[in-house]
């Protein structure tokens, strides 16, 4: 399991997180290449269905990264996104995938280092959870991921 490199879909707002990821890259700060970034005009565009489909198609983790609270360029897009991520986390629990596979973070465009830090932290959490069983071939009980182990 230690060699497991997760696939993480990061839905990033163009006004903050996407720019922060850019800044991290420009500053030569490394963050895991497991992150596949999807640029959005605002995290308010994100729908539960987008996030759920990412998992159904085999993503090991989903990160939604929006502006700092109260700083959304469209007023409340980041708040709506957080509500949807909270709903998704409940759904993941009911489905039998760990809620921790989805996370919402809030950062500004100037927080390149913080983006790299949070991305690394989240990737580490997903590594602990192991691969998404929907993508990986079904494992024997001895090697199953922690979320399904009883």
């Amino acid at each position: 399991m230690s060699s497991f490199e997760p696939r993480i879909i990061a839905f990033c707002c163009q006004h903050c997180a996407y720019a922060a990821a850019d800044l991290a890259g420009g500053a030569r700060l490394s963050y895991p290449d497991s992150l596949h970034i999807v640029q959005l005009p605002c995290t308010g565009r994100v729908d539960v269905l987008h996030l759920l489909k990412s998992f159904e198609d085999g993503a090991d983790g989903v990160l939604v990264a929006g502006c700092l609270p109260g700083r959304c360029h469209y007023l409340k897009g980041n708040t709506h996104a957080r509500q949807r991520v909270d709903y998704l986390r409940q759904l993941l629990d009911q489905i039998g995938l760990a809620a921790d596979r989805a996370r919402m973070i809030n950062i500004s465009a100037a927080m390149g280092a913080r983006f790299a830090e949070l991305a690394t932290e989240f990737t580490q959490r997903i590594r602990e959870l192991g691969p998404n069983r929907l993508a990986a071939p079904l494992q024997s009980p001895a090697t199953e991921s922690p979320e399904t182990a009883s």
Binding site: L52, F55, L91, Q94, G96, R133
Partner: protein
């Protein structure tokens, strides 16, 4: 509109244990508007069921479809071929929709994915409240547009009970006292004198007490094909 909410995923999974190939069908009217059974909710539920089955090493194929109005057979007929390819149908319609599909498909298992809850209205985004119980004998003209049948926990017809406090119902502080609302509104309309008239006991035979109800509109019914028009025939 008819307001409903999704059943817990585990309950739906239990219903479907005997089936391998299921069609999840949404409805494009009330339950779409109350975000319980529209195209998006069908997508979320179908994906959740597929994923839960896979996580639990079960075989379950769930496809998605939408019907504009599940409660009318004309909208179900075009889907006949599609229905034929599935073991069971999971309806995200209201209870009327589920029963209409079941009646339309006598040989097929049809399951409800929603709990149909009430006839109501959205009071803010994401919040719905009950407004009508379909008692069959509307009294809103007497009570200033506030329904005592639905909004008074005791269904009182002649003023509030002793449990009303500061405009709220004793059943739950979040429920405004219907009679307080009636009083304020009727007062604004200057109709207090009319409100003072005692209301007789309500005839509940028009409500559920008379069994399932039926409305027949002879002016709208289709005449039989062999109608004999007698001398008026041209």
């Amino acid at each position: 509109m008819i307001v409903a909410e999704t059943k817990p995923l585990e309950q739906i999974r239990q219903m479907l244990t005997r089936h391998k190939k299921v069609l999840a069908v949404g409805c494009g009217t009330c339950v779409t508007v109350c975000s319980a059974g529209g195209a998006k909710e069908v997508g979320i539920l179908a994906a959740s069921l597929r994923m839960a089955a896979k996580v639990n090493s079960e075989t379950l194929e769930v496809d998605e479809a939408m019907v504009q109005r599940q409660c009318e057979v004309e909208y179900l007929e075009p889907l006949a071929e599609k229905f034929a390819g599935y073991d069971a149908v999971l309806s995200l319609g209201c209870g009327v929709g589920v029963q209409s599909i079941a009646q339309h498909l006598p040989e097929k298992n049809v399951y409800p994915a929603l709990n149909t809850t009430f006839m109501g209205a959205p009071t803010e985004q994401g919040v719905w409240e009950e407004r009508c119980q379909g008692c069959g004998n509307c009294v809103l003209h007497v009570t200033g547009g506030v329904c005592p049948v639905t909004r008074c926990a005791k269904q009182l017809f002649n003023g509030p009970c002793g449990g009303t406090e500061a405009g709220h119902c004793e059943v739950d502080e979040a429920i405004p006292c219907a009679w307080q609302m009636v009083w304020e509104r009727i007062g604004r309309l200057g109709l207090i004198d009319e409100l003072m008239e005692l209301q007789p006991a309500k005839d509940w035979s028009t409500s559920r007490d008379g069994g399932p109800r039926r409305i027949v509109r002879e002016d709208l019914r289709l005449p039989p094909d062999d109608e004999d028009y007698g001398e008026n025939a041209t």
